[in-house]
């Protein structure tokens, strides 16, 4: 029972959404009443040795950090690969050591690492593990043991992935989409062990992720603290939650396609393999359809885009709201937009396949569903900028990342309308326009969010602030650099330069692009190098950063309200928090301060004019 149970003050404005009195008969007059806990307090395993505390640890926060570090490590490998690719594209004379095989292997591994092993793992495994229990007021994830296994499965998956660099033939070079038949045929680099290890690694990743995903979902659905309704959750949790739902339903398709392709490779089945003539000989395949793989892959692949984007949407909403000292505009619509985007993402997959030779009529269906998604997405953008409107914007590093996100995301979103609309896609698909689009919208934009989130939550995780000054340098290098990589790249696509070209030779309409390629490559080197500013910042701030203290950003949501900073295992000390309001009560008229935390009972701020609770 809440300690404020006997306090009988009322608040002035009260929407019908307050849960007080919703089920509790006879106590409706008491606004601070929150009904008692449904389930007993979670009993947790507390590690004692170094191994159980930091290695095989069951604490979601440690697991989150483990995910974060490992994902970042693979991300840095992906970054280095992208440097090598850009070296070839911009300054081929300096990249003499690189053959076309190498180039395609780098392209493939860069794509796969960044999409799956970096972004997905970082958002869901990293931020999800750290933030979900804290933000919904749980002691830990509901199945800590399974959660731990999830991370170690991911660890093994990364190991297998990296091992493929060292097998004969090298890693697979079939593009991150792994389209058969070429993925498993001679003529594509790494079509031997490379592709097999890639499939194995993906299957392991999916298995591990399923374990983690079950945890996130059940924690959000079944382990919220008292008073925490779904409509009082921070949008971060909504984004990660919906993305996890998508992952749970989309990864099966990836698992199945990876399994079937491994069987094609290892057993000689013909799921995806039609009759093939190779070097004058007919191979022992026949009757399969490569397009089936594409359908399966994109049935996973499109939700995967939103698995990366939705947590970014959620996190950015929280960051913008906190740092412009204003409630997020249209919270309900934001939630519904996330849910609708998530649901629709299962009905749009073949817009990646307009020119794949599938049934021509599908173009009508998928163009329509795809453009429908544009509406809720646009609403989210409007709500972000309307949150800035009449706010009190702190132009700190976190806010800069948010603004950078809005610019890059809107840019990438608009080019998405080009590619989603079936006819417009025909000339642009498979060109650099596509590369520019998806890097802008699911590379740079989520990266901006990650960086913003790192600067925002670093004080919570470590108890120290990151340096603002270094942060600003980091931001401007990254934002301006990344923008100048990908904005001009669209125009290469307009010219018609196809993707995945190791070299353009002297095609008449691309010779003019040489200068641009050099410029883009230079920018890419600078942006990549700028990331080491962050690493330096993190390392030094761990030691000499300003101590953060409690709630340094004056935020409302539960993660800042733990008894200790950084939070300990079990998060909440003796007593779980009791939630009385949504997390966006900033600048409420009549309040003494410009924020009212979620745990503040109505009676304490009785004089304010709260609209939504």
């Amino acid at each position: 029972m809440s300690e404020d149970y006997n306090d009988n003050k009322t608040i002035q404005a009260q929407s019908s959404e307050t849960i007080s009195g919703e089920g509790g008969a006879g106590v409706t007059s008491d606004t601070d009443y929150v009904r008692p806990a449904e389930v007993a307090d979670q009993d947790l395993y507390h590690g004692h040795s170094f191994i159980t505390k930091w290695v095989f640890c069951q604490d979601a926060k440690v697991i989150g950090v483990q995910y974060f570090l490992l994902a970042t490590f693979t991300g840095i490998i992906g970054l280095i690969l992208s440097w090598l690719m850009r070296l070839q594209l911009g300054f081929p004379e300096l990249a003499g050591f690189m053959t076309a095989e190498h180039y395609y292997q780098f392209v493939t591994m860069h794509g796969m690492i960044m999409v799956v092993y970096f972004l997905t793992a970082l958002f869901l495994g990293g931020f999800g593990n750290y933030l979900i229990p804290l933000m919904v007021g749980a002691r830990d994830m509901v199945f800590p043991y399974v959660n731990m296994v999830s991370f170690w499965m991911f660890f093994v998956a990364v190991g297998v992935l990296l091992a493929s660099f060292f097998v004969p033939g090298g890693p697979t070079g079939s593009g991150w989409t792994l389209y058969p038949p070429q993925a498993i045929l001679e003529g594509t680099p790494g079509s031997g062990m490379g592709i097999i290890l890639m499939c194995v690694s993906l299957i392991l990743f999916v298995a591990g992720f399923t374990m983690g995903g079950l945890n996130y979902l059940i924690t959000v659905l079944q382990a919220r603290t008292r008073g925490m309704t779904l409509m009082r959750m921070p949008l971060t949790v909504w984004g990660i939650f919906t993305a996890t739902v998508l992952a749970m339903l989309a990864f099966p398709a990836l698992l199945v396609s990876a399994l079937m392709m491994s069987l094609d490779k290892l057993l000689g089945t013909s799921f995806f393999m039609p009759t093939i003539l190779k070097a004058g000989e007919v191979l022992e395949y026949g009757g399969g359809t490569p397009i089936l793989f594409q359908h399966l892959f994109w049935f996973f692949g499109h939700p995967e885009v939103y698995i990366v984007a939705l947590p970014a949407f959620g996190i950015i909403s929280d960051l913008i709201s906190v740092h412009s000292r204003k409630n997020i505009f249209g919270y309900r619509m934001m939630v519904w937009a996330i849910v609708i985007i998530g649901a629709l993402s299962f009905f749009v997959w073949a817009h990646h396949m307009y020119v794949s030779g599938m049934h021509p009529w599908f173009g009508f269906f998928f163009a329509t569903t795809t453009l429908i998604i544009a509406v809720p997405t646009a609403m989210k953008v409007y709500n972000w900028i309307l949150t800035l409107w009449r706010g009190n914007i702190r132009l700190n590093v976190v806010m800069l990342w948010c603004l950078g996100f809005i610019v890059t995301f809107v840019n990438g979103g608009i080019t998405g309308i080009f590619l989603g609309n079936v006819t417009v896609d025909v000339p642009l698909s498979d060109t650099y326009f596509v590369i520019a689009h998806f890097h802008m919208v699911m590379g740079i934009a989520p990266l901006m969010v990650i960086m913003g989130a790192v600067y925002h939550w670093f004080p919570l995780v470590t108890g120290r602030m990151l340096s603002e000054k270094l942060g600003k340098w980091h931001f401007w290098f990254t934002f301006l650099g990344a923008y100048s990589i990908y904005f001009p790249m669209h125009y290469l696509g307009f010219i018609g330069v196809p993707r995945r070209y190791f070299e353009m030779y002297d095609s008449p309409y691309v010779t003019s692009a040489v200068g641009m390629n050099e410029f883009i490559s230079t920018a890419a080197f600078i942006v990549g190098a700028a990331q080491f500013i962050l690493i330096y910042n993190i390392v030094t701030s761990l030691k000499i950063g300003k101590p953060a203290g409690k709630n340094p950003w004056q935020a409302n949501s539960l993660e800042w309200l733990t008894p200790t900073v950084p939070p300990e295992h079990g998060n909440w000390g003796d007593k779980l928090p009791v939630v009385h309001r949504w997390p966006y009560d900033f600048s409420v008229p009549g309040a003494k301060e410009d924020f009212i935390t979620q745990t503040t009972p109505p009676s304490e701020v009785a004089e304010t004019e709260v609209e939504k609770t």
Partner: protein
Amino acid sequence: MSEAKKEQTTTHKIGIYLWIWGLLFVLSFFSYMVDWYQFQGLLRWSLILIFMFLKAGLIMAFFMHLFWERYALVNVLLWPMTAIACFVGLMVAEGKYTLFSRIFYFFVGGQ
């Protein structure tokens, strides 16, 4: 791990389980008969699907207790099936199109 409060779990009469069990046997027998009598065409398809969905429905509703669960859970479990339905529908069209283009171009000659 939490312990849900235990006292509330009521169980159902054994009769209902036996009934459903019997019904499942009968339905399985019927669907076997579809093959035994070699029904063909639309009749075969509709019979197969009817028996299949009846059996699946019975197992989910009673053996898996979905019939007694609250709508919140039931809806969460059943709505995602629309994505599967869409996938199935489109792949039926795609399969037919692939077969058509193979026969049309490789056997008929594409004229």
